[in-house]
């Protein structure tokens, strides 16, 4: 069940909210835990077992690690068991088939070269459990903090369960570290003003997802329907921008909805995006994009590897590790790894010299981000290497030495006519301006009516697209 669905808004959440607030304060964590399990099981009853096991095992191991003194063998032993379990599950369900596929390819190649009959390993065919990338990172942060004696193990298994699977951030983050949640899990304040604020935040997130991301997505979809071979260069660029806006407003909207829902339940969930497209360098971009993931990699990978404190060579190695893993985290496919490594190269370059240029001339930095980030998103979007190359020859027609390809050269004019207004909205909402205005006129009646309009317009689009996919993707 996604937040931007009628089912969630008008069935699950309304019912949940009533039960949650009728229940006495001390029972609310139990209500939230039960609600979250129902939310999870709604779409994926089988993998519910996996998340419950994770809670149970990490709860026990947390105590086992904490019981032993730092640097003792048992301390380390239980820590390694926990890590093996958590990341082992992630590997099994998310990466095993990718790994086996590549191994088979390698064996095949070796077999051909050295003339033996290669053993072909069978793929597991497992589907990806919902939210596993997110909850694995959350529980790993909990265990690592206990291992480092930064965090005491949580005594209430219920509270740990709520931390790991509370539905506002279960499926798509933000990734919250346990120390940020511990206090709120024990005691949180409820206020009508916060509730109201959370509701507004949710509506803004909903609008971002339904009215911006879903609309601009149609352009990207149209390009795929046409086929990359036959689009004009301007349309290829529009497509790259459209996909960039789509992925931003989709994810940003989802994070906002999570923050809003959290607020309505009395939680403070950290922000995940801070106008990434106004960044002036790639490093800056990653401090603004999916902030909680970046922070996780910084705190649990980069800094433990000594970050940039041990000379240039080690810094480069550490950056490589972080960006390789960041790429891999986004998906089990080579294009994601390449995508991550592109950031490794760019950020390394910025660390050593490019960064100074952009700090001096921010205008250059903006230009660089505006044109470069959409290109990285194309690498992210197109999982098939062959198609990816074709798309790049459309973006840069000189690459294949000919201008052949586009049959209908005015295709981009049609796209501008159709998507111009959505593009403009996307550009405006990528800047801090709307949020500034919102903060200033938050309680103005006009703002309230605008939000009301956003909500019902979103519902309108959800209604007409849920019953009839044709109206959304008309032929």
């Amino acid at each position: 069940m996604v937040f931007s669905s009628l089912e969630f808004i008008f069935r699950f959440f309304i019912l949940f909210l009533i039960v949650y607030y009728i229940a006495p304060k001390r029972l609310r964590n139990a209500v939230l835990f039960a609600g979250s399990l129902i939310f999870y099981a709604w779409g994926e009853p089988v993998y519910l077992v996996l998340i419950l096991l994770s809670i149970l095992i990490n709860y026990r191991l947390g105590f086992a690690i904490a019981r032993h003194p730092r640097n003792s063998h048992k301390h380390r032993f239980f820590f390694i068991i926990a890590m093996l379990y958590d990341f082992g599950m992630l590997f099994l369900f998310k990466y095993a088939d990718f790994f086996i596929g590549n191994l088979n390819m390698l064996l095949n190649f070796a077999g051909h070269t050295f003339g033996f009959q290669p053993v072909i390993l069978k793929e597991t065919g497992l589907s990806l459990p919902l939210g596993i990338s997110f909850y694995t990172f959350q529980i790993a942060s909990y265990i690592i903090d206990i291992y480092k004696k930064k965090q005491k193990p949580e005594h209430s298994m219920l509270n740990l369960g709520v931390y790991l699977c509370m539905f506002p951030q279960l499926i798509a983050g933000p990734i919250i570290v346990f120390s940020d949640m511990a206090k709120q899990l024990q005691d949180r304040t409820y206020s009508l003003a916060e509730f109201e604020d959370g509701l507004k935040t949710f509506v803004i997130g909903l609008g971002s997802k339904v009215l911006l991301a879903n609309r601009i997505f149609l352009l990207w979809n149209n390009i795929q329907v046409t086929g990359f071979d036959c689009i004009s260069t301007p349309l290829a660029w529009l497509g790259a921008f459209a996909y960039s806006f789509q992925i931003f407003f989709d994810f940003f909207g989802y994070s906002l909805m999570a923050i809003g829902l959290g607020k309505m339940l009395g939680f403070n969930i950290p922000e995940n995006f801070r106008y990434p497209y106004i960044a002036t360098s790639v490093s800056d971009f990653w401090r603004r994009w999916h902030i909680t993931l970046g922070a996780w990699f910084r705190d649990y990978i980069y800094i433990p590897l000594a970050g940039n404190r041990c000379g240039k060579l080690k810094t480069v190695r550490n950056l490589f590790v972080v960006w390789f893993l960041t790429g891999l985290w986004h998906g089990a496919s080579w294009n994601f790894i390449i995508w991550g490594l592109i950031f490794f190269v760019l950020i390394s370059l910025e660390k050593f010299f490019l960064g100074k240029v952009f700090r001096k001339v921010p205008f250059l930095g903006h230009l660089y981000i505006i044109f470069l980030i959409p290109l990285t998103w194309i690498v992210f979007a197109i999982t098939n290497g062959h198609d990816l190359l074709i798309y790049f020859t459309r973006l840069f027609p000189f690459l294949n030495g000919s201008s052949a390809g586009s049959i209908y050269s005015a295709d981009y004019i049609d796209a501008i006519k159709m998507f111009g207004p959505v593009f403009l909205l996307c550009i405006v909402f990528s800047t801090p301006l709307p949020a500034k205005l919102y903060q200033r006129f938050k309680n103005n009646i006009i703002t309230l009516l605008l939000l009301l309009g956003i909500f019902w317009l979103s519902i309108y689009y959800l209604v007409i697209s849920s019953n009839n996919p044709f109206l959304y993707f008309r032929f």
Partner: protein
């Protein structure tokens, strides 16, 4: 009261929820009945019907006014009449109890017999093909054949317009076009003119008319009601263009993966509709052209690599369709009964 002041937005939202739910509740037995029957009440709130209504031109306040839509301003069976509303009416047993929302329903069944007599029965002397229609000795022509042709259709015809490279011909193609909206929907002709098919065919004469519609209608009505509407449209087009050859194109099939999604967009329905649609052709004035063999595999699925969404040909495969059309030009009407060996559309590909 003090508390309410702290949560004005919540109150607004709640009130509007109640309002829309109330509208849905009041209209549930008349205005919105057809939607409610289609919706799953477990997952869809009652207020959803109000938005479905708005999409089809029914305003929420209509439920408070005159409950009889016959006199309501939005319920005239005009050409803009929402086609979706016909759906449940035609396919639904309870349609007679519900006359106010489907003014066309009563007349729909009688459309077929009205239209059929206009199609002259095929002379028995002409050999019939496997499709039951007279065999036609199709010619291969070059693209100048399309100089005096017009292509009418939905987004599939639109991809023909954009990616065929044919700029010597006329297209009246619009995304989302259906047999119910084809004549009177505002669209932009390939000439750049803003027009409707009816107006354009009134002011311009063509020698050949290529028609392909039907994918958008798959979730709407029954095969019979669809073909009945098609027959009416054909009749109108024939009246407007008495000299033109009409090429009635079969609905193109979809890919296996799209078919396997198990929605109402499936090849079984397409096949069923094509079979009945074919009966509107006589291969003398209205030719039946089924391009599916050219773009489908042996099981009748649109070839997977030709399409991204399972429905539309990708631009680079559109020329296959064009070539196929060029290979299927009807013989000149003057020498229409040809004694030469005949080739059927099916064996040709």
């Amino acid at each position: 009261m003090k508390h309410i002041k702290k949560i004005p937005f919540f109150c607004l939202l709640l009130l509007s929820c109640i309002f829309f739910t109330l509208c849905g509740f009041i209209g549930k037995d008349n205005l919105y009945q057809s939607y409610i029957e289609d919706n799953d009440s477990k997952t869809t709130p009652l207020l959803a019907v109000v938005f479905e209504g708005i999409h089809d031109g029914i305003h929420p306040w209509d439920v408070f006014g005159n409950p009889s839509p016959h006199t309501g301003p939005d319920m005239q069976p005009s050409t803009q009449f929402p086609t979706e509303m016909l759906t449940p009416a035609v396919s639904d047993e309870s349609a007679p109890d519900n006359p106010e929302i489907n003014p066309d329903a009563a007349t729909t069944p009688s459309v077929v017999p009205i239209a059929t007599p206009t199609l002259p029965p095929a002379p028995t002397a002409i050999p019939l093909g496997p499709d039951g229609l007279p065999l036609v000795n199709y010619h291969t022509v070059d693209s100048s054949y399309f100089d005096d042709a017009v292509f009418i259709g939905d987004s599939r015809t639109r991809s023909l317009q954009l990616y065929s490279g044919l700029n010597n011909t006329t297209f009246l193609a619009d995304t989302g076009l259906t047999i119910y909206t084809v004549l009177d929907k505002q669209m932009t002709a390939s000439t750049g003119e803003k027009t409707t098919v009816r107006n354009y065919l009134t002011s311009h004469q063509f020698q050949k008319i290529y028609l392909m519609l039907g994918v958008n209608e798959l979730g709407t009505g029954t095969t019979e009601s669809f073909v009945a509407s098609y027959s009416e449209v054909l009749q109108t087009i024939q009246e407007l263009q008495p000299d033109a050859l009409i090429y009635l194109q079969a609905i193109l099939n979809i890919s296996q993966s799209k078919h396997n999604e198990g929605t109402y967009i499936n090849n079984d329905t397409i096949h069923e509709r094509n079979e009945l649609l074919k009966t509107l052709a006589d291969n003398q004035h209205i030719y039946w052209l089924d391009a599916n063999p050219a773009i489908c595999d042996e099981n009748g699925y649109l070839i997977e690599t030709y399409t991204f969404d399972g429905v539309h040909l990708q631009a680079k495969y559109v020329p296959i369709w064009v070539t196929w059309l060029e290979e299927h030009a009807a013989p000149d009407p003057a020498i229409e009964v040809s004694p030469t060996p005949v080739i059927s559309a099916e064996t040709d590909v």
